[in-house]
Amino acid sequence: MAVSYWRERDRYYRILGSKCQNCSAEFFPPLYRCRKCGSDKLSDHEMPQEGQILAYTLLRDPMTGFEDHDPMPIALIELNNGVRIVAQLADTPIDQITVGSKVRAVFRRVRVNGPNGQIFYGYKFAIKNEKVNLTR
């Protein structure tokens, strides 16, 4: 997993997706052919860090490696450029999660390869708190 993680680091750290050079459509995850116009001229493009929740769930049936995330809050988010992403929610009391909540990307630990193994990081999202802004 270490190599595949390294390969994807910009995707996980910066939400680096694709932008079509022909029709300007934006995508995440990155892709090979533009979903809108079919062009294969795509360049790397960072996604906006903010969006809103379209749907959410509390997963109580975690996969191996995520047993300590029970429940795991997961949301379907529409970023401010219209791109939809499914991601874990972090830093957010479960009772504050609602459809329509504004969220922002945060950089968090995603998983750990055993007690002495590699630690993998990536994006998660947190409900935007207007009073305290922890990002950047």
């Binding site: 994807e8 995850p29 749907a55 509390l58 997963l59 975690p62 499914v86 874990q88 459809v99 990536g122």
Partner: protein, 383 residues
């Protein structure tokens, strides 16, 4: 092109087979199907299976099955297409037998799930989702099923109790289904109040984890035709965006819609001619979205049609007649073949308490992921 008939069928009960390996299950179903067909040596063996490498550290299932059945020399391989593996295996076999490339084929759907711990079973059933962007973050297929369920309920104002009508139908039919995993009726309240698994999904919204194998033998030999004979009138497969949330309309199952449109055209019938449908009711909302994409309900009306009795065994279009994925069980790669065996039993009139009266045309619908891949078959009684 030759006419393809189902010459024989066999299956195992779905559930806990602690004393059976994946190969044991495959051999049990295959032996029953070959015996039923009266064919000793098929021209081809195709296995539908999703994750034998993960669950049983066993690949090369084709050669393994040929060896176990003492059918050395018969070409054999495995077809994988996530939850649609079984029906995709049949799709490939149908085209070989229809073209005459093979005159007969043994198709086995098999999955071994109960050797896995629950958290490993969740990983196994999520292997068809993006490794980098879904699995990496611990997002399981159940979580994706939950998100689309919430969208479905919001968009069409489907109530919790309306959604529960799908598992109620499935379990009611499973009571008299001898091979079903859960032969127990449940009420709307049982479903709506069952344990939350991934809100708003509850335990009884979700197809269970179980072991099982089912097999059919296809033939293009008109001399094999029994009375009544059942033909594969159409076999059609399609795909859509791997991630449902990247579709323009997240609540339209286009892979299913494309597959059913093609299948109806191939069979030369309209959806109104369908006497019953074995649908991919892996989650309650997926059942609703499936009947809508299949054209059995208007968009957003699937759950209310279920509530109003349209899909009951004596309703206008019975679904999940032996319990569906929810009640019969969902041994993933085997499910598509269970559906075919069940449709076959309906059409030959051997469904006993589960019989759909005067069933002449049956449809089966199987999907991988959240409609990333879909396969539709139409079976027809021809004598």
């Amino acid at each position: 092109m030759k006419r393809v008939i189902i010459a024989g069928a066999g299956l195992t009960k779905v559930g806990d087979h602690w004393n059976k390996s994946i190969l044991d299950l495959a051999v049990d179903a295959a032996t029953a199907a070959l015996k039923d067909a009266g064919i000793a040596t098929p021209d081809q063996i195709i296995i539908g299976n999703m994750f034998s490498g993960f669950s049983s550290s066993q690949e090369s299932l084709g050669a393994m099955a040929a060896d176990a059945l003492r059918l050395w020399g018969v070409p054999a391989f495995k077809v994988e297409s996530s939850g649609a593996s079984g029906s995709m295996a049949l799709h490939v076999a149908d085209s070989l037998v229809k073209s005459g490339q093979a005159n007969s084929a043994l198709v086995i759907g098999v999955e071994k799930m109960r050797d896995l711990e629950p958290s490993e079973a969740a990983r196994a059933t999520s292997l068809g989702e993006s490794s980098e962007y879904v699995q990496f973050f611990g997002i399981s297929q159940t979580a994706l099923g939950a998100l689309i369920t919430q969208l479905y309920m919001q968009e069409y104002e489907v109530t919790r109790d309306e959604l529960s009508c799908f598992p109620v139908i499935a379990h009611k039919n499973a009571v008299t289904s001898e091979h079903a995993q859960f032969r127990k009726a449940v009420s709307i309240a049982d479903v709506s109040r069952s344990m939350p698994v991934s809100d708003p999904l509850r335990l009884l919204d979700c197809a269970p984890v179980g072991d099982g194998a089912a097999a059919v033998v296809l033939s293009n030999d008109d001399g094999m035709v029994k009375d009544p004979a059942i033909e594969i009138a159409a076999s059609a497969a399609s795909t859509d965006s791997a991630n449902f949330y990247q579709r323009d309309d997240m609540l339209e199952f286009m892979a299913t819609r494309r597959a059913v449109t093609k299948a109806l055209s191939l069979a030369g019938i309209s959806v109104r001619d369908i006497d019953f449908a074995e649908i991919n009711d892996s989650y309650s909302a997926v059942a609703g979205l499936s009947v809508e994409a299949l054209g059995l309900s208007k968009m957003g009306e699937g759950a209310r049609d279920a509530r109003d009795g349209k899909f009951d065994i004596k309703g206008k279009v019975p679904i999940s007649t032996y319990g569906g994925l929810k009640g019969r069980g969902n041994p993933v790669g085997a499910t598509g073949i269970y559906q075919i065996v069940e449709a076959y039993h309906q059409l030959v009139g051997k469904a006993k308490a589960n019989q759909v009266v005067d069933a002449k045309i049956g449809l089966t619908h199987n999907m991988g992921g959240i409609d990333s891949a879909a396969v539709v078959h139409i079976l027809r009684r021809i004598s």
